[in-house]
Assembly symmetry: D2
Homo-oligomer: 328 residues x 4
Amino acid sequence: MISICLFGAGRIGRIHAANVAARDDVELRYVVDVDQASAAACAAQHGAAVSSVEQALNDHTLDAVIIGSPTDTHADLISRSAQAGKAIFCEKPIDLDIGRVDACLAVVEQCGVPLALGFNRRYDPSFASLKARLDGGSIGKVEMVTITSRDPAPPPAEYAARSGGIFRDMMIHDLDMARWLLPEEPVEVFATASCLVDPAIGAAGDVDTAMVVMRTAGGILCHISNSRRAVYGYDQRIEVFGSGGMLRAENERNDTVQHFSADGTLISRVPDFFIDRYEQAYRRELNDFVDMLTNDTTPAVSGKDGRQALVLADAAQASLERGAIVRL
Amino acid sequence: MISICLFGAGRIGRIHAANVAARDDVELRYVVDVDQASAAACAAQHGAAVSSVEQALNDHTLDAVIIGSPTDTHADLISRSAQAGKAIFCEKPIDLDIGRVDACLAVVEQCGVPLALGFNRRYDPSFASLKARLDGGSIGKVEMVTITSRDPAPPPAEYAARSGGIFRDMMIHDLDMARWLLPEEPVEVFATASCLVDPAIGAAGDVDTAMVVMRTAGGILCHISNSRRAVYGYDQRIEVFGSGGMLRAENERNDTVQHFSADGTLISRVPDFFIDRYEQAYRRELNDFVDMLTNDTTPAVSGKDGRQALVLADAAQASLERGAIVRL
Amino acid sequence: MISICLFGAGRIGRIHAANVAARDDVELRYVVDVDQASAAACAAQHGAAVSSVEQALNDHTLDAVIIGSPTDTHADLISRSAQAGKAIFCEKPIDLDIGRVDACLAVVEQCGVPLALGFNRRYDPSFASLKARLDGGSIGKVEMVTITSRDPAPPPAEYAARSGGIFRDMMIHDLDMARWLLPEEPVEVFATASCLVDPAIGAAGDVDTAMVVMRTAGGILCHISNSRRAVYGYDQRIEVFGSGGMLRAENERNDTVQHFSADGTLISRVPDFFIDRYEQAYRRELNDFVDMLTNDTTPAVSGKDGRQALVLADAAQASLERGAIVRL
Amino acid sequence: MISICLFGAGRIGRIHAANVAARDDVELRYVVDVDQASAAACAAQHGAAVSSVEQALNDHTLDAVIIGSPTDTHADLISRSAQAGKAIFCEKPIDLDIGRVDACLAVVEQCGVPLALGFNRRYDPSFASLKARLDGGSIGKVEMVTITSRDPAPPPAEYAARSGGIFRDMMIHDLDMARWLLPEEPVEVFATASCLVDPAIGAAGDVDTAMVVMRTAGGILCHISNSRRAVYGYDQRIEVFGSGGMLRAENERNDTVQHFSADGTLISRVPDFFIDRYEQAYRRELNDFVDMLTNDTTPAVSGKDGRQALVLADAAQASLERGAIVRL
């Protein structure tokens, strides 16, 4: 029985807690949150104890931690958990500052604990299926990758202000997808963007509508499109074009019903947001983490993956600011 | 240069005239219609002469006739054309009375002229593609055939009254499709039907909503669904289920546009009616007739095909009237 | 906390057990199975005790039972559970014999306990969504219902032999769907069928390929198509045609990936079988049963629904045997 | 009766000739081609005379010319036709050199003749339908445009060498689409590209795989993806994302057949190349030109449209060469 402490009992934390609870071989031992009420509610629901960071990490029989607290606490919690010898699952990102990320990863490496990053999309059944077929050679050599990612509605402007910007906060997921799908690292990044959705986001110094184009050393091209608003739902698509064909992962639909009327045929909506769309991905991601602990394998998404996605996000931000291509 | 006389310058006749005109190796020589204005308009458009049945058939250099006049003139025109030694293309049906059909076909056989029946759906690109894959063995042995055919709107009740009823007038197309797709003839027919669309159709002694189930000697099952009204357009679908898979021909769409909104995704309408849906089929059908004349091959859809479809339609009508299965 | 005893720890029973375990407000107290090993494994997994029918029903604090044992035990377990005052969830069917069903339902009524039948498809998200739109009037008055249901592979012939036949064993689900979707009861049933998949099924006196057509008093038509084998997966579709349009629930897909190659575009498989396809339906069905217990509401699928579906299945069987329409 | 001279009896020229021939109100009077055999064959097929540029333009009763000859003859033929007072339909591009384009357009303006450019995609039924819905406000304000355009197979390298490069030869169509769909002109262009398909194209100084991102003054973003090879057919898609939704025009399919097998469901191929995909577009384009002549309206696609697309193509080429954004 693997014992786990959850840091952060917010929306994402509770998803992880429920996925832990659904397994018979994992025990949710502690829940830690600065909001005591949230911690208590989550702990009560799954038979765990409310605790503190210090107490939890001092429990020598605790195996692992899941970090779902706010971004600015990640690096510190990772470092402390590593020093306590705990296996770590951390939601993306490690930190918004590449220097802090490097320092944190150095601690992890020194301590020799496994660190798995929560890039949930790698666990989405459709994206994983696309990746498997790609790796199986079904479309030959990859030549172009196109990623579309649009949120249903913009976050509050104050969130945008401290999010690190659209590239580090939102597109980082797509940049990780790009790295996962491309057979080699991007070496050139170009970004262009606008504030079309919410002027308050612009006032906070950020953008809400963005396109990035990247190029690898071998000349493979990648395009990412982001918007902070899509009235039709959470738009999450991938297209990989190769010498021997194309693979597309389309949006899911809420159900399979088609309504034929004089206007045409209406098919069902795409899922509202990540809670719906990535429900299975979160479950599979947690299961993968537990399997890693059980079988002593290496994490599917490593700290280095988290770092490299941030490098690309930083490059995109720099490209936007300079109005020029950034070479890595 | 093949010379052709068109009998009937109505809606269907004009489609055939235009398809003849589009070829460089066929001449539309005469147009015959009891409505002289229609005949004149059609003839003028394509550089043909207005004529009469007698005159046209007396032209010894005329090669062929296309019969697109009202149903009750078909058998007579076929017989006279056959006796004049002309190759014949006739819109379905030969006649609504099986006795008259047999007499007519006897004349055709005696005269030794080729007779091609206008079951246009066999020339629809999607249905023809389905049939080719079926014949190519892509789904193994056929076990079930399902045919859906729904008109966009009911005909005038007076039309229904003299149409021979929904089975002989409308479902006869589906019965021909069934015979074309099934590897053996149906031996049992069961029909059930209602008048749900237009009470005037019921008052005229007909039905407007019908289902037929047929069975072959080898136990293959076939289902046909008809309605005289579909607000979403002309619903024309085929599904063939076999030991090794399933083939479906879905409805066409007016275009490929998808509109994503908060309600879902709206895809375009299906074609309005047969003029739109079977535009290509009519062209291919005419081309096939000309090829038959040019290459001296046998018609793809024979008089016997027309007869057998009527036999099934008669059986369906009898089944409905008796409330019992009809065995052939 | 509602306490439940599970009768039957086979494939379906274990699904229900897991769905019970996933809730915080329900306790799986006992597991009963003639196969003690199965009972023990299931009980251990969810912290329940192995018990016997007698013991479990004698526990006066037990609230409810879930019956997932073999069909021929259902009526007896329902009766005994009713007499013990337990709320009952029973997998379909109550029994294969209408006389025994009536006797059993009489006991249930006398005892005044709630009985919910496990027609899982009513809880399928797509079918439920279709039904909701239908009830919302989106296609006007229902005129035709078409239900396609094909299993991926035939059961062992010995199963077929004691299953009651394809109509009572398999099509009963579709007959319930038909009743659910039709605004009035069918009054005429016609069945035709063959043994095309497995000769051993025929040798056992059953068929494996079947079509049924039904008609209501108001003239609404319904068609059901069944096969015991579909190489492409578990084919589960519904189409409802009405005066104002059409609603279709198409098959689900394992994922949203599309593979574009020189052959065309390959989209993903439909789910393998009911375990995959109806995973959500089983969960929602169980939740509905618990809600019924908690809120003291009437079951969504009643004993009468189970009875009526059997009446239709009996009629279909009789129609097949007599080669004639059966009027109810 | 409008009389027309066709310059160029190659593949495109013959399409225009056939579309002219299909109308009753237009006469194909002359066919001109340096390849006399081609000219003769095309002329014979449609009852036209073989002629020369000089002779044809000297016919004072000739109304219009259609220019489908090689690109390097366009500007000269336009100028001479304009000076002869003929209405002009010219295949894209006017010329590969912006200076020559401007000189040519100055002549056209001076002569006061109408000039229609053959950007066929504007006449594609699906793209035109998308545009109509966009103009109807169905998705609010445009925020992002994504255009995918991939040829089935690369042209011969010698073609690439004198084509002006992928941006001026191929992407110019997409750049025109972008201008057509965007509510304002792009002001920034960024291009990146590779030679991944055919090394001979690279040796000829061109690329075969390209992505462009553009931005308008108002911050609307546009992405275009090109490849000279797509094994699955001619990939032609458009996506417009707006404040109120998204419109997509997907690829057409050769037919509507779906093949369900153990591997999944195979749907039909997309059309092979532009001859198939844009068959209707060519017809509608020609009809629009004739309507313009008949009704004395302005051309839907003007010489200025041709010029502006070239300006964007030049900017893309410059961006690629400089590795930097180009501002217009």
